[in-house]
């Protein structure tokens, strides 16, 4: 019996259970914590496999994934975290099933707070831009390759690149023709690097991502307009 319901759970997980059997599994799930845990386990297993593709598209150092084998080609942060939670800490995702109505009420309250915090479209574009720089530093169709920063002491790290360095400072430089709606310098720390977004007086925006302090980044950006 148990094996039978487990197999049905597996089939329902895959969306392959007959309509007339679904309610039986849902009823069993409602009262069987072990079955709920099994469903969580299926989901974790599946995510760990399939997440490799998604995360690789975000990571700049992605490797080519072979057909048909999961886990073996590269390890991603998200997949690793999931497996860590799953195998080591026995994290129970099924706890999310406990009280939908309470969460619903909570969210109504949150929604009004959230409404107050809705940011402008410009701010959203800026966030998109920063996330794009973090996740896809090599994708850049707008920055010219002939930027010369020697007047502020930085050398290009390769003949046709957008990476510059001076001593232990090194960074990737991008110039966007759109202004991203900002009129002041913004910066973020990401790991051991900084991302500076500096508006120029001509409406463009300079993004400087790397090991560089804020004042130096501003100096670099200002040198571009001079």
């Amino acid at each position: 019996m148990s094996n039978n319901i487990d197999e049905k759970l597996s089939a329902l997980y895959d969306g392959e259970l007959d309509a007339n059997e679904i309610d039986e599994v849902l009823r069993m799930l409602d009262k069987d914590a072990n079955l709920q845990k099994k469903l969580s386990s299926y989901a974790l297993m599946s995510t760990s496999i399939n997440n490799l593709n998604n995360v690789q598209s975000i990571k700049s150092n992605s490797k080519v994934r072979n057909y048909s084998f999961w886990f073996s080609n590269s390890i991603t942060a998200a997949a690793t975290v999931l497996l860590t939670l799953f195998a080591i800490n026995q994290f129970d995702f099924s706890r999310m099933s406990e009280d939908i109505s309470a969460k619903n009420q909570l969210n109504i309250a949150m929604s009004s707070k959230e409404a107050k915090e809705i940011v402008s479209k410009a701010e959203e574009n800026l966030v998109d831009h920063v996330m794009h720089v973090i996740n896809n530093p090599d994708i850049d169709n707008s920055t010219p390759y002939d930027i010369d920063l020697r007047n502020v002491g930085y050398n290009r790290m390769s003949s046709n690149g957008r990476m510059f360095n001076k001593g232990n400072k090194n960074f990737l430089l991008r110039i966007e023709k759109k202004n991203l709606g900002i009129n002041k310098v913004r910066y973020w720390q990401y790991g051991d690097k900084m991302i500076h977004v500096v508006p120029l007086t001509d409406g463009r925006v300079v993004t400087i991502y790397g090991n560089i302090d804020t004042q130096s980044a501003i100096d670099v950006a200002n040198s571009i307009t001079n």
């Binding site: 799930l29 969580s40 995510t47 701010e123």
Partner: protein
């Protein structure tokens, strides 16, 4: 809601839209890790990812009646999650300390991301699991891989492997059981 071939969960979604909490719980449990993983790749923070994933499913529950099946269900959920993450990201940045650069009189806002490298661990566990899957009996491995890696339907797997659908269903189930047992027995004590 129109039927969509990308929506394996059509019948569950339909039930959830009619207020069936059990069906919604099933969908939430199924997609929670994917949502969490997507948010983690965005936020690089476990705590934020957990908070945002929970908020995501609250919104999904509130709005599931508006899902029309024009996209895959996960795509719809993912969109909600990422919009929440973007708002969270922006509001976090705007709440942090503001600093002034004395020489430029420019206002600067500061936000800190967690270091993603700190979450890279347990590579060995993943390698062990991969190795275990490789050692599964060929019939189980093939059915499981076609389903999980390739997203094939049971009918497609049946055609590819020239096996009855009931056997495909059983093989995928047995593969999952074997892998879960392995994880529990071999990796649970690490």
């Amino acid at each position: 809601m129109s039927s969509n071939s990308d929506n394996d969960d059509f019948l569950l979604i339909e039930r959830a839209q009619n207020g069936h909490e059990g069906a919604f719980n099933f969908l939430m449990t199924k997609y929670y890790p994917r949502v969490y993983a997507s948010l983690y790749s965005y936020t690089k923070s476990r705590e934020d990812s957990e908070d945002l994933a929970q908020q995501t499913f609250v919104k999904v529950w509130q709005q599931i009646s508006t899902f029309r099946g024009d996209s895959a269900f996960f795509t719809w959920v993912y969109r909600i999650a990422i919009n929440l993450a973007k708002n969270h990201f922006v509001s976090s940045a705007s709440k942090k300390d503001k600093l002034n650069i004395s020489s430029t009189d420019l206002e600067i806002e500061f936000a800190t991301f967690a270091n993603p490298e700190s979450d890279l661990m347990h590579d060995q566990s993943l390698k062990k699991i991969s190795s275990f899957v490789d050692q599964l009996p060929e019939s189980l491995k093939t059915a499981f891989t076609l389903r999980e890696s390739e997203g094939k339907s049971y009918e497609e797997i049946s055609l590819i492997t020239d096996t009855p659908i009931g056997t495909v269903r059983s093989r995928i189930f047995r593969a999952r059981e074997n892998i879960l047992n392995f994880i529990s027995e071999e990796l649970g004590d690490e």
